[in-house]
Amino acid sequence: MRLWFAILALMAAPVLAQQSMPPAPYAYTQLEDPALEAEATELMETLRCLKCQSQSINDSDAPMAGDMRHQVRSRILAGESPDAIRSWLTQRYGDYVSYQPEVSSTTWPLFAIPLLLLLIVGGVLFTRLGKRRSDKGTE
């Protein structure tokens, strides 16, 4: 019986049910130069997979993500800078494809509001503490 299960398990080939095309050359192959590969990985971790949108292309096994990794690696190999590759993609897919937020006309409040809040809190603390100290002084 157990042997039977083992044979059945061998026959189940879920991988074959997926697309049978070989992946792009650099989809699952690292660059030979470790420095270049590190550069590519750093970039791939901050690019969104368009198929499974909460993953980075570095994490995703979607065929589209593999094709995007191929683009990143082959462009890095050709000497393109990570920033140039990121903007090549944002030109085509918009800011959404990048996980690295940029200051732009729509995102500036995200950067400005925390600063503003810190300033307000600092101001309030300063006046309160200053007041308490001067209260003590008059006691």
């Binding site: 697309q19 792009a24 989809a27 198929k51 589209m64 094709d67 683009q71 030109q91 085509r92 897919y93």
Partner: protein, 174 residues
């Protein structure tokens, strides 16, 4: 109690309410191409099957506006859109196909079963053209004007009510 003490609570309730409301709203899943109104990039794709020509940028320039249809034999919605593509062809629209990550035998089999509305089919094995034009899935259909500019993107399969829309867009860019 000073009224000002309630400001943080009010702010908190406002943001909690906003987040709660957004949770009930459907999320836009599609990533739209930012390449609309941009020229189609230079590219050359090998034929996706024997007996049909491949596709390059030059095939879109001159004459009339065309449709660029991104599909694949492994894509189920592509079966659903096949009859509607056929209708567009009958209306005199030239449809240029791009088969994504596909094998020649599978492409031929698909065309035998569901019809062939294409004038030419290029094979995009590693999503090269898809990434160039900002396509994020299969199927997608683009309206390309006679000067080779991308003018409109339809995401997902073409349904009966998409056909007049695409015909209108093609007329608009003529």
């Amino acid at each position: 109690m000073r009224l000002a003490y309630f400001i943080p609570l009010a702010l908190f309730l406002f943001f909690a309410g906003l987040a709660g409301y957004q949770l009930t709203q459907p999320k836009e899943q599609n990533v739209r191409s930012q390449m609309i109104e941009q020229p189609l990039p230079e590219f050359t794709l090998e034929p996706a099957l024997e007996g049909m020509p491949g596709v390059s940028r030059a095939d879109f320039v001159e004459g009339q506006p065309r449709l660029l249809n991104i599909w694949a034999s492994w894509c189920l919605p592509c079966i659903a859109e096949a009859p509607h593509l056929e209708r567009l062809r009958e209306e005199g629209v030239e449809i240029i196909g791009i088969a994504v990550r596909d094998r020649p035998e599978a492409v031929a089999d698909f065309l035998n079963r569901y019809g062939n509305p294409y004038s030419r089919i290029g094979s995009d094995d590693i999503s090269e053209l898809m990434l160039e034009i900002g396509a994020s899935g299969v199927p997608e259909t683009y309206v390309i004007d006679a000067a080779g500019n991308i003018r409109y993107q339809h995401i997902g399969d073409i349904r009966a009510d998409t056909v007049p829309l695409l015909l209108e867009k093609l007329e608009e860019v003529r």
